[in-house]
């Protein structure tokens, strides 16, 4: 009985080790590549919101300046009209 159990256990361990050993694993260099890539993605992800904010601020500025220009052009037209030009 004991003998049979011992054989079973030994078979289980051998099978497990065999399976694990046969699976292909990435090299150290490949793992480093993946980590570098992840870091690069993370850095790029952080840049996007800053750039979006900068763009939104500039869009607002441009809209305000367009408004000012329009206002000035309207003023000019009104003054010309008042002066009879």
């Amino acid at each position: 009985m004991v003998k049979r159990s011992g054989i079973l256990i030994a078979t289980a361990i051998s099978a497990s080790l065999f399976l694990s050993a046969c699976t292909s694993r990435p090299s150290e260099e490949e793992l480093r590549q993946l980590n570098d890539l992840k870091a690069e993605v993370s850095a790029l992800e952080k840049q996007v919101p800053d750039k979006e904010k900068e763009k939104a601020k500039l869009e607002k500025e441009v809209a305000e300046k367009n408004g000012k220009l329009q206002e000035c052009q309207d003023d000019q037209a009104a003054v010309r009209k008042a002066l009879g030009q």
Binding site: S24, R25, P26, K38, L44, K51, K55, V62, Q76
Partner: protein
Amino acid sequence: MKTKLFLTILITMLLVLDVQILFAQEMTKEQWQQEMSQYTAKRNDLKAKLDKLNSDIKNLQDQSKKLDADVATCHDNLLKLLGVTQAEYDAFIDELTRYENRTNELMRLSDEELLKYRDEVMNMDKRVTEMAKHNIAMIPRIKSRIEKLQANIASLKKTLEKEKTYTVGTWAKDRDCLWNIAKKKDIYNNAWLWPKIWQGNKDKIKNPDIIKPKWVLKIPTGAELTKEEKAAANSYYRKKKEAAEPTQ
């Protein structure tokens, strides 16, 4: 014996399980490949997005610079049309802003407090009327500011023109006579202006020495007696003097 066997099997199973877990934590080549592809795609998307954002930002910066120049040119042309310099324009706007702020301050005062600033309101009204005729007032947004200011000044003037009233008390309690009423700080703060009250209430006051309790007297505005008020006062003093002189 049975217990020993059971323990042996249990320990062995745990050992096998540990080994399996240990190997499961490590990445397989396939998983690595998958993650590499996934992150590479993500990086490329992000790079493309950032390139687009940078390009948009550059365009907006260029637009902003161009607009600055266009606004400056437009403003210069406007000043040329109006025939004024930048300094004159700035001074005009400063003066207008100053009157706007001052009018807002005055509008918060009580009617009585406002009376102290009558001359200031009148001078401001005169100056703003002149400003409304200036070329700069042809600019619609300046014109509308001046119109609003004029409306506020008109409202102040209306308040100033409103007549104040005083309800006469008793001689016993209040010592009310025209002299004493005019002397009150919140009336004229000057007893010699009593004829103003008399002349302003001729319908009630036939004899300035007699006023009755509960009469509501109008208090005309002004810091000096008018010609008519002076004449009335002189006539009153003359009659008093005549009455006081002994008859021969």
